[in-house]
Each structure stands twice: as C-alpha cells, then as structure tokens.
C-alpha cells in the first residue's frame, strides 16, 4: 500500500469536521501515518466544505489532490470532487437524499439517514453511518472505529456513545453486504508505535504550556482561535490565566503587562489582529519585555480570505512597528515542529528580552498530523537574565535597563523587596526614567538593536536531499511537507533536487544560507504568496538571487504535486 486518500464533503453545519476527525483518529489508532487538512468557508451553514485525509504505512507530510474514497454528504460534493477520483476511486453517498440522475459504477449508494433512523432512532446519526460505510469499503477493523466513537461520545452520555456505535455498525454491515465493486486498496492496522494525532493549533497551545506560558490573552480570529480556546479549556486544571481581551490592542498590551510582572505570556491572532498589535509590539521592543505572538496567517489584505491559507506576512513581521529594535521570527514546519518551537520561542524571548513572532498559517493551524509522542525531556526552560528575589536583593542600586556587554540587562520583578523596576515607552535612562539625552539615546538604540547578535546561529535552515544536487528548493514554514515530498518524488524520477527549508527566519542566518547555497545552479523559491517575500529577504541579506519561483496565492495549500508540475513546466523548461 502506498497511500490512500479519503475526502468528506458537504455543507457547513453538516458535521464534516466531526466525521473527518473520527476517521483520521480511527486510522491513526491502527498505527498508520495520517495527515488531514480542511477546506472550509467563512460561514456557519451552507456553502461547501471538505476534510481530506491521507493515510499510509509510510510517513505522509502533506495533503494531496487525489481521492480514493469520497464521502459525499450532498450532491454538490459529488459534482465537485468526482473528477479528483482515482482510477478505482469510489464515491459513497445517500441516494435517498441526494438525487443523482446518471449513476456511474464508481458511485455507491448507502441510505445514511434511513439506516440511522432504523438503528439509532434519529437521523443525526447519518454521519456516523457514513463513517462506518467508508471504513467498511476499505475493510478496516470495525472494533477500532467502535472504540474511537465510544471515547469521543462518552463525554455526552453512554446512550449517545452506544447509538453512534450502532449507527456505524449499520453502515459498515450494509456496505459489506451490498458493495460489489472494488476500491483501490484495503487498509489494515500495522505494527506500532502508536502516534498522536494533533493539529497545528493544538501543538502550539500544548507547546506554549509545556514551555511555561502561564498567561494568554487573545481575541478570536481565524485561524488562531483554537489556541485561545484550547488554553482556556485547560486553564483551571493547569493553573493558567487566560483572558479574552476586548481587542487585539488590549491582547498584546495584556501579555506585555503579565510578562513585565514575571510570567511567561503570549497572544495569538491573525494578520488583521496583528495589525492592531503593531504599536504594542514596539512597546515590547522599547521596554525590553519578553513576549510571544503567534501569528496565524490567512490571505489578506484586510479581512481577506478568512478561512484560507497564505504566507503573506513574512516581510510584515520583519518590519513590524515604528523604530528599530531586535526581534525573532520562527515559522514551524508542522505540528510536531510547532510544539518544540514554542519552547524555543519563549526561551529566546526571555534570553534576549524581545518580542518573538511565531508565524503559522491556516493550513498548519487546522491540519492534523500523526507524530511521535512529544518528548517532554527535550523541553528546556531558559529564563535568561531573570533574577530571583535573592539575587536582586544583592544588587546595589538596581536599574532595569543597565548597559551590559551583551546588551541584555538583568531583570528583576516588581514586588521584590528593596528593588524598584522602572521602564518607559519613552526613551529612557538605565534606571528606566524618561530622558532627552543624545548620548544615552545612542547607547540605548545600540543595546536594543544589537543584543540578539549571535542568535542567527540558532536559526540555521534545514538541508534535505542529495548534497550535490544543483537544484535547490527553498521554502519556509508550513510548506515543508510538500517541498520535502516533491524533492523525494523528483529524485525518484531521476532529477537531482535538494531542499533548504527555514523554520527560523530572523535574525536571518546569512552565513549559513550563503554556505548552503554554494554550488547551486538553480534556486527555486517556493512560497504561498504572490511576491515571493523570502526571495526578497534572502537577496537583501545575502545578495543571492533566486533563479525561479513557484508561488501559490489562491488560498489553497501548496502540495507536492503542485510543485512538481510547476517544476516540470517552468523550471526545467
């Protein structure tokens, strides 16, 4: 078995996400590698949404355009996705509810609603019937589905859990008896290890909590709302303070206030909300207050394409805010990377006393990956120059913004006896009070701009593929999986391609990049934006030009197939 692709489609409000998640979880329980992505509209009811699940015995890094099994909850899904079906692809739908005039052999009719009413007494279980039917088509172990359904619905009630299992079984058996066709392959659980199934937002939230973030303030905005909600839900059990702010201006100012007082703090938003945070971002720079901002990108400008994906904010975050000051920018590759990078983000923020941006995007935020259990022994908390009460009490005439060789000043906290912590958004003296001095101004600018010197060494991009390959694919953030797969597939075809991928972008690792690009003949920048922002940044920082660009800005994620086609048409030509 190479891989198998499920797609569940229907209207918003039909429960696409629930079916998709249950399917993905059931497959992951069989120790398979799963990747699931979501395509949804900015509405609560109606429209067209789908959930795509790619599963394989081998690691899967990104999504795919192929469909082996389409679960259509309405007519539109059949119309839209039939063309994506593979040779042996099958579309399953409820023929009693979905009128399709001309049936073709790839279509299999299961009366979802009727079976739901007959077995569980309510048509709301129709989706579960469909889930059972789908897994029956690939001859997957029903007991695993039953186990997952029970776990998920037990929280509602035992009865609901049982009704779901019955409905799933009805769909499963009906299909066993009535399906006479053939599917691309059967799916069977494989030998361990059992992996976790987690999406980007959950990984960011869990990573932040593991990294010691105790304060989170946010204002809901797709695609980052899930981070706020996840942390909110855990706040009572895990001693977090999570506050829904009145707007994003308040959200970042709050995170800064909490951090100044001594706790690790963050906020999460999207481009529109980050635009409102711009002034506070510079406040963090000026007052040297560590803070982490998660920016889940979606296509702009303005409200843009709210539920879709893009990498349009790289240059924005590099230049965010008036004035000049140091910052760091990280961009996780996938959910696993997001978990560990949050730890890095909080450590950098405190070691250098700067704002740190974690750039995700809708694709990363909403997509699920199976990954190895997170290794908590890898979590290292480095709070940098933070002073304990005792350490601070030994310092004579403590001043918050003391000039030091590194540019980073020891940080005491308000409330320490015998110490006063004073800072100002105005230019200030070492003791934090407002000043008009030209001489102090120059020293303070130098401190704030250059204190991250050396940090670029921790921002080294990832090299992948045959070292000697003349063609280099470059990219950053969530395009990692697609680029990596494209590199593998092209090398299998006999092309020589390697990858240079960034999950940390600022301070820019100039020397490492120059080194990695030595000997390259073709340099192909792959980004989800229209203007190739990293190409511009890379050129500004290294003087190296890209020879080609593969860009996508229709709001949909870049896939390996998209890259390969563009490569063959444009780059090689």
């Amino acid at each position: 078995m190479v891989e198998f692709n499920f797609r569940v489609g229907g209207e918003a409000g039909q429960g696409i996400q629930t079916i998709g998640y249950i399917l993905a979880k059931t497959l992951a329980r069989g120790n398979m590698h799963v990747h699931a992505s979501q395509d949804y509209e900015s509405r609560i009811r109606g429209g067209h949404n789908f959930f795509h699940i790619r599963v394989s015995e081998n690691p899967v890094y990104g999504t795919s355009e192929k469909v082996d099994l389409l679960i259509a909850l309405n007519r539109e899904t059949v119309d839209l996705h039939t063309k994506a079906l593979t040779e042996k692809g099958v579309a399953v739908f409820d023929g009693e509810k979905t009128k399709i005039e001309k049936r073709d052999p790839s279509q299999f009719d299961v009366p979802f609603e009727r079976l739901a009413v007959e077995t569980s007494g309510n048509k709301i279980f129709a989706n579960t019937v469909a889930t059972g039917a789908a897994l029956s088509l690939v001859k997957y172990d029903f007991d695993i589905l039953s186990e997952v359904l029970t776990e998920i619905f037990r929280a509602k009630s035992k009865q609901v859990a049982e009704d779901n299992v019955k409905a799933a079984e009805a769909g499963y058996r009906y299909t066993e008896e009535n399906f006479k066709g053939e599917v691309a392959c059967e799916l069977k659980p494989v030998e361990g290890p059992r992996r976790i199934l987690i999406n980007g937002n959950e990984a960011v939230a869990l990573g932040a909590m593991a990294a010691g973030c105790k304060f989170m303030s946010g204002y809901p905005m797709t695609p980052s709302t899930g981070i706020l909600q996840y942390m909110m839900n855990k706040s009572s059990d895990f001693n977090l303070v999570v506050e829904q702010a009145e707007d994003e201006i308040a959200a970042l100012n709050m995170a800064i206030g909490a951090s100044f007082t001594g706790v690790r703090a963050m906020t999460a938003t999207s481009g529109g909300g980050f635009s409102l945070m711009v002034e506070a971002f510079s406040l963090a720079g000026m007052t040297e207050t560590p803070v982490v901002v998660v920016l889940g990108q979606r296509p702009g400008p303005s409200t843009g394409f709210p539920t879709r994906t893009e990498q349009g904010e790289l240059e924005f975050v590099i230049h965010t805010s008036h004035g000049e000051f140091a910052r760091a920018i990280l961009a996780p590759r996938d959910a696993e990377d997001a978990f560990y990078l949050m730890n890095k983000a909080f450590n950098i923020a405190e070691r250098y006393q700067i704002p740190v941006v974690v750039l995700t995007d809708e694709y990363l935020a909403d997509s699920y990956w199976t990954v190895d259990r997170f290794d908590f022994s890898k979590i290292v908390i480095d709070r940098g120059e933070l002073l304990s009460e005792e350490e601070a009490s030994k310092i004579k005439d403590y001043v918050r913004h003391k000039f030091t060789e590194s540019g980073v000043s020891p940080r005491a906290l308000p409330g320490y006896p015998g110490v006063l912590v004073v800072t100002d958004s105005d230019e200030h003296t070492e003791d934090g009070h407002i000043t008009e001095s030209a001489e102090i101004r120059v020293k303070m600018v130098q401190k704030r701009v250059w204190k991250t010197k050396g940090l670029e060494k921790e921002m080294v991009p990832l090299s992948y593929g045959p070292e000697k390959a003349g063609t280099v694919f470059l990219g950053w953030g969530s395009t990692y999986g697609a680029i990596r797969e494209a590199v593998d597939l092209l090398n299998e075809e006999g092309f020589e391609v390697r990858m240079l991928h960034f999950n940390a972008l600022w301070p820019f690792p100039t020397d490492a990049v120059i080194d990695a690009l030595k000997g390259s003949e073709k340099r192909v920048m792959i980004e989800s934006n229209a203007t190739s922002q990293l190409a511009r940044v890379l050129r500004a920082e290294t003087g190296i030009q890209m020879t080609n660009k593969i860009l996508r800005y229709d709001g949909r994620p870049i896939t390996s197939n998209y890259i390969i086609q563009a490569f063959k048409m444009e780059v090689r030509a």
Binding site: F215, V241, A255, A258, L283, P414
Partner: protein, 284 residues
Amino acid sequence: MVTLKDYQGGETAWCPGCGNFGILTAVKKALVELEISPHEVLMVSGIGQAGKLPHYMKCNLFNGLHGRTLPVATAAKLANHRLHVFAVGGDGDGYGEGGNHLIHTIRRNIGVKYLVHNNQIYGLTKGQASPTSDLGFVTKSTPRGVVSTPLNPIALALALGASFVARSFSGDVPHLVQMIKEAVNHRGFALIDILQPCVIFNHLNTFSWYRERVYKLGEGDYDATDGLAAFKKAQEWGERIPIGVFYKEERPALEELFPAIEDVPLVKQKIESRQFEKLIEEFM
C-alpha cells in the same frame, strides 16, 4: 514604617502651578497613610503630562503607551495580585484613545485603581480639545468651539456597572487622599476622575472656576450605594460640581475569580512542563 521620604522622587518637568502637583502629593500621602511600601506598588501610566506622575515618585513603574494603561495593569494584577496596581493617565489617554479598555476594565472589576487626571484638554500635545472639554470651549483644534457633547466619565462608569466611582479635585489634597485610600481599600476596580486645572492650555476650567463650584458629596445625606441616585447626581455639572464617592458596591474582583490564582500569585508558581505530559493522552 513607611514615610513620605521613601516616596521622594526626582525633579519634575511639569509647568509651574500645574494641577498635577496636588495629585502627586496626594498619591504619596495616601500610600504612606496606608503603610504601603514603594516596592509593593506598581504604577502603569500612559502618555501625556499625567502619565509622567510615577516618574516623580518612587515605585515600580511601567510607563506604557498612550491610552493603553488598563490592559497592562489588568494583566499585571492577574500575574501578581499581591501588588498594589494603579493606572494613571490623562483624560485624552483614558477617555479618548483608551476608551474601549475603560469600558471592558470596568466590566471585569479587576483590582486596579485608576487615577484620571482630567484637565479637559490635551496638555502634552499643547492644547487640543479632549473628550471632556466643555461645549463651546475654543481650543487649538476647535477654533469655533467644541460642538460634541462632553463625555461624562462618572455617568459612563455607572452605566457600565462600575463598583467604585469617585471624583476629586487636585486643589483639595486631603479630599483626594481620602478618595485614594477608599479606592485602595475597595474590592475591585476603582475609578477616580480627578479635576485637574491645566494652567497653560485651559483658561476656562481654572483653579478658581473649579473651586467656586465643587462641593462634597459625603457632607449631606447622600447614599453612595444607590445606583439610580448616583446616576442622577452624575448629571450635575456647571453651576455646582459634586466631588466624592458617587457609587460603591461590594462584589468579587476579577482576580478572585480565576481558580489558577486562588492561593498563590501566578508569578510565584513554578514552571512544571512535565505536568502537561498527561494531556498527550487526549491525542492518542
């Protein structure tokens, strides 16, 4: 023992005769009388002449952005609720730029004490109208006089369900000291709108203009627990201006409502990454 000397700050950059001096004196006096030490105080101030106040005394200080004192102060209080957290700023800062935060901070009833130096003008930017400038007042930005209805901070706060609403006058330091002490002892958010003459840019609302009009609420049979009466009283402006506590109500402060900080302040809690390992089971 805490003394005024402990709070003695450096040189000020306010104009001679400024109404802000009375506020500075009152703040220090109130803190001394409450026996609060400088290291237990965190002032979060905004931008404007008012926002400079904490620089002229001794305490922890976060002098943040114009209009953004309240979110910073709110989070600071949540991060360490043992601190005495004050927010300090001008009328432009709090009622203009930061208006949305005022609304929601009142709703939260966080234990932050908010001092608004209301001089009915933008001082630091040299004399433009503020949200509280009186109708007809000619300023650099209103050559034909103010035409927008002045914002009534007392009525606004009352309408939002504020649990402590007071007005004082920087020309009456003992009264202001009393108000600050009551605010500090109050459970939850306290707004003190302080009438503060600006001797350079406001030649309408001067020391003598206020002095002729203000009278103290506590001296009659005023009941500060009657919200409707308070709202009615809040409409009084012009011939006679009431100062004192308009309204006061006992209810839990926001910091009492987070299970995470029921006992130990958030900042005193250790980071324990390993405790989150059990959450992994959710994703298995």
